[in-house]
Amino acid sequence: MISPKDKPKKKPPKDSLTLLPCFYFVELPIVASSMVSLYFLELTDLLQPAQVGFRCHDRSLSMPYVEGGDELIPLLMLLSLAFAGPAASIMMGEGLVYCMQSRLKLRPGAEGSINAGGCNFNSFLRRTVRFVGVHVFGLCATALVTDVIQLATGYHAPFFLTVCKPNYTLPGISCDTNPYITRDICSGQDQHAILTARKTFPSQHATLSAFAAVYVSMYFNSTISDSTKLLKPVLVFAFAIAAGLTGLTQITQYRSHPIDVYVGFLIGAGIAAYLAFHAVANFKSSEDAARRPARPPPKDALRALTQRGHDSVYHKGHASESNDELSAPQRLDGMNRQVPREKVSLGSLKRASVDVELLAPRSPMGKENMVTFSNTLPRVNTPSAEDPARRHMTIHVPLDPLRSKQLVSEWKQKSMELRSMSLRGEEGREGSMDGSDSGDDGGEEELVMPSSLYPTVQASRAGTGAGGVGARVVIPPRPGAPQLVHIPEEAPPVSPKSCSGARAKWISIAEKTGGPIPAPGSLRAANQPRIMQVIAMSKQQGMVAISPKSSETSSSATSTSSESPHYRPPSERDSSSIVTVDAHAPHHPVVHVPSGNGSPWEWKGSANGSASEIREGYELNDLNREASRGYRPVKSVSPGSSASDPDLEPAAHSDLASETRSRESTLRRKQPHLGQERDIAPPQTEQDPFYRKLQAGWRYKEGN
C-alpha cells in the first residue's frame, strides 16, 4: 500500500506507448472536427436560422445598426482574445510553476515526465498542452453550442427592424389587424446583416468571454498559492471584468438583448466549470486526483467497528513498514492526532456499544469474548492443539489476585514456548506434529494455569484440529489464527447462517474499506505505557537467555513496538494483524453463544455474585490480558525467559532460531499474497482479492 506521501519524490520518466497515438488519433480529430463544424456554422450560410415572427414597429427591435466595421469587439478579435488571454496566462503560470519546482518543494501531485516516441515530455509540456488544449476545445465547443442555439431559436437582434426595413404595405400584411408578422417581408438589401440579426440568442460574445474568464479563473484559483492573498483576486477580477464588459458592450451596441447576454454568461460559465472539473480535474495532476477515492461513510456502528479494526490494522502495518517510524516524534504525532479522534468518537462509542448490546442481549460474556477476539487475534500465533481437559480444569481454579500475577508470568513464558514450537510446526508441515506435541507437553506441565487466563489462552490456542466448523470458514486462513476456531467449540449451536452472514458482511466491508489509511503509528503510541510495564514485568521474570540479537532487541523493547525487526518483520505483523480484521467478522457467532455454555467467564459472575467481585475478576482478567498482549511484544525477546522452567529451557533455546526461521518462512508463505498486492494493487482494489487469496491459502493449508 503506497500512500501518497510514500511516493518517491523524483519520479523517473515513464514510458508510454499510448500517449502519442491517443493524442494524434483521438484528441486532435475531436478538436479538428469541432473547428471545422464551427467554421461551417459561423462563417457560411449552410444552415439557415429558424423563422420567427416579430411585432410591427417593435421598439426593442428598432435599435440602430452598428456596422460590422464599427463594432467595438468583432468576432474574430473576440475569438483571438478569448484564446490568447487564457492561453498566455496558463503558459506563463505553468512556466513559473515549472521553474520554481526545483526551488520549491515538489508538490505531492506533481507529474513526472513521460517518454513517448523517443521524445521526453516533461510536466511543463504535458500540463500546458493539456490545459491549453482543453481550453481550445472548450472555446470551440462553446461557440458550437452557441451557434446551434442561435440557429434553433432564431430570435431577432435589437437592430433587426433597422436592417430588415420591413415592407408593411405588402398585401396580406396589416399591422392594424394583426400586429404579429410571421412572413418574411424584409426589404433591406444587406442580406448578411439580416442573417446576423436573426442569430442573437445567446450572445456569442458573452458565451465565449464567460468561458474564457471562468476557465482561466479556475486555473488561477487552483494554481496560485495562498501565501499572497491579493494576487489571485486581482487576476480573477481582471478577467471577470474583461468578460463582463465584453458582454455589456454587446448590449450597448444594440447587438444583443440583455437577456441574451446573461444567458450567454451562464452557458459559457457552465461549460467552463464542467471542463475544468471533469476534463482537467480542476487543474490538478491526474495521478493526484485518481489517488483519492471517496470513502463511503460507514453505515452502522457495527460495521464501523469492524472497519475500524481493519483500519487500525493498517495503521499498524504502516507503523511497521519502516523502522524510522518508530522514532519518538512520529509517535508524538500519533498521540496528538489521536486525541481529537477519541473525543469525537465518544458518541459513536456509545452507539456502538448499544448496537453490540442489541446483538448480544444475553450476557456480557459474549461481548467480552468478542473483545478477546479483537484484541488477541493479531498476536495469537500459538496454534498448539487444544487440550479440552485442561480447559475445563482451569475453569475451576479459584481466583487469587496475588497469585494471578505470578501465574501470568508463568503463563507468559509458557506461551512463548508454545508459540515458538507451534511456529516451528507451522513452518514445516511434517514438523507440525512434533511442534504441537511438544507444545502440549509444555502445556501439560503447567496445569496450574490460571483460569482467568483462560479466555485469552483459549483464544490463542484453539485447536488446529478443531477446524472445519462453520465459523472457521469466515476466518482468513492462517495456521496461527485459530482463535476463531474456539468459537465453534464454545458454541456448537452457531448456525451456519450467521456465519455466512458474517462472511457476507465481511466481504462487503472489505469492498468498502479501501484507500490509503493515514496516521501510522498512532495506535501504538497510545499503548506505550502499558507495553512498557509489561516489558518490565517480563524482564523481571528473567530474560536469562537473551538471544544474540538481544542488544538491539532490548533496546527496541524500550520503545513502543518492542519487537526487533529481525524477529518480527513488519510484513509479518501485517499478516497477523490482518487476521484481526477478519476476526471482527465473526461477531455474530460469538454473540450468539448461549451464556453459561461452559464459558470461562461464567465463574466470575456466578461464583462471586457481588459486583465488586466481578470487578475484581475483570481486573484480573485485565492483568492477564496485559500479559497476553505483553507476550507479543516480548515474545521475540525472551523465548529464553523460560529459565524458570528448567525442563523447557533447552528447547526454548533451540526454538529461538527455529522461531526466527519459522517466522520468516511464515512471512514468505503469507506475504507473497499480502506483500505483492500491497505493492502492486492500488489500495482500493486490494481488499477483495486479498480476501480471496487468503481463502485460497486457507484451503491449501487445510489440504495439508
Binding site: 483576486p233 477580477f237 450597448t252 475500524r308 483500519d311 468518537s345 490480558r625
Partner: protein, 324 residues
C-alpha cells in the same frame, strides 16, 4: 498541538510590501480614477423619443436621498472593519477561542525583533481583503456604468432633450445622438450612470462579507438567536438600501439586481476562495485530515489495543446500556 507554533519567515514582509501593497495601491488608484476624475468618459447611450421609462421625476441630488452616499460609504466601510476588529480581539482574549486561534495560526518571526502574532495577521488579512474587495466592487460598478451608459429613470427629466426636425416623428424612433440635452451638464452626466447600482453593490458586498465573517468565526453556544439576528439584520439593511434606490427613481430594478449579484459574488469569492471562510492558513490541511478521520469509523474500543482499556470500555458501555 505542538507548542512550537512559531515560524520563521523572511519573505512575508517583502511579499506583503511588493505584492499586496502594490496590488492594493493599483486598485485604489483605479477606483480613484473612476470615481473622482473623468478619465473614462461615459458611453453616450441613445434613447427612445419620449420613453416613459426615462421620464420619472427627478428626486434631487444624491445627497438629498434617504441614504446619502457619504453616510452609506462610511457605514459600508467602517462597520465591517469595526466588527472584524472587535471580533478578532475578543477571540484573541477569550481563552477558549484563543486556543483554536493559535492552533490555526502561526506566529511569524521576521528578522530579529518582529513578531507577527495571530491577532495581527488575522486582522490585517481580513480587513485588507475586505478593503480590497470594496475597491474592487467599486471598480466593477464604475466599469459597468461607464461602459454601458445606461440611463437612469429620471434621465429625460433632467436632460430636457431638444428634439429637432424629424427626431420624434415616430414613437419608436431611436435617438442615437445623445448630445441634445439642454439640462445641467453635471446632472446629465450623473444620470447616465445607472447600471449597475453602486449603492446596492457596495452595501450587499459589505453585508455579505460581514455575514460570512460572523457566521464562520463567532461561535456562541449560549445565545442561539444573536448570530442570525445580526446576520439577517445586516443583509436586510443592505437589501433595503438597494430597494430604496428603486423607490426613489434613482435606478431601475435591473440595475439594483445586477448590483446585488455583483456585490454578492465578489464577497463570496473573497470569502471562500481567498480567505478560506475566515479560517487560518493551516486550517485547510488540518481539516482534510479530520475529514479523513471522519471517514474512518469513529470508534474507540476496537482500535484500542490494550485489553484493559477495551474491557473498561466494554464494561462502561455495558453498564450504560443496562442503565438505560
Amino acid at each position: 498541538m505542538a507548542p512550537d507554533n512559531t515560524q520563521r519567515s523572511y519573505s512575508i514582509i517583502p511579499c506583503f510590501i511588493f505584492v499586496e501593497l502594490v496590488i492594493m495601491a493599483g486598485t485604489v488608484l483605479l477606483a480613484y480614477y473612476f470615481e473622482c476624475t473623468d478619465t473614462f468618459g461615459v458611453h453616450i447611450q441613445g434613447f427612445f423619443c419620449n420613453d416613459a421609462d426615462l421620464m420619472k421625476p427627478y428626486p434631487g441630488v444624491e445627497e438629498e436621498s434617504f441614504v446619502p452616499p457619504l453616510i452609506l460609504y462610511c457605514v459600508v466601510a467602517a462597520a465591517p472593519t469595526a466588527i472584524i476588529f472587535t471580533g478578532e480581539i475578543s477571540m484573541y482574549f477569550i481563552k477558549s477561542t484563543r486556543d483554536t486561534l493559535i492552533a490555526q495560526e502561526k506566529t511569524i518571526v521576521t528578522g530579529e525583533c518582529c513578531y507577527l502574532n495571530p491577532l495581527i495577521r488575522r486582522i490585517i488579512r481580513f480587513i485588507g481583503v475586505f478593503a480590497f474587495g470594496l475597491f474592487a466592487t467599486d471598480i466593477f460598478v464604475n466599469a459597468g456604468q461607464v461602459v454601458t451608459g445606461n440611463l437612469t429613470p429620471y434621465f429625460l427629466t433632467v436632460c430636457k432633450p431638444n428634439y429637432t426636425g424629424t427626431d420624434c416623428r415616430f414613437n419608436h424612433q431611436f435617438i442615437t445622438n445623445g448630445n441634445i440635452c439642454t439640462g445641467d451638464q453635471m446632472v446629465v452626466e450623473r444620470a447616465r450612470r445607472s447600471f449597475p447600482s453602486k449603492d446596492a453593490a457596495l452595501s450587499v458586498y459589505s453585508a455579505v462579507y460581514v455575514t460570512m465573517y460572523v457566521t464562520s468565526t463567532i461561535k456562541t453556544k449560549s445565545s442561539r438567536l444573536a448570530k442570525p439576528v445580526l446576520c439577517l439584520g445586516t443583509l436586510c439593511t443592505a437589501f433595503l438600501t438597494g430597494l430604496n434606490r428603486v423607490s426613489e427613481y434613482r435606478n431601475h430594478c435591473s440595475d439594483v439586481i445586477a448590483g446585488f449579484l455583483l456585490g454578492c459574488s465578489v464577497a463570496l469569492f473573497l470569502g471562500i476562495c481567498v480567505v478560506h471562510n475566515f479560517k487560518g492558513v493551516h486550517a485547510t490541511p488540518r481539516k482534510q485530515k479530520t475529514e479523513d478521520y471522519r471517514g474512518l469509523p469513529l470508534m474507540t474500543f476496537p482500535r484500542v489495543e490494550s485489553p484493559l482499556e477495551t474491557l473498561s470500555a466494554q464494561n462502561h458501555s455495558a453498564s450504560m446500556t443496562e442503565v438505560t
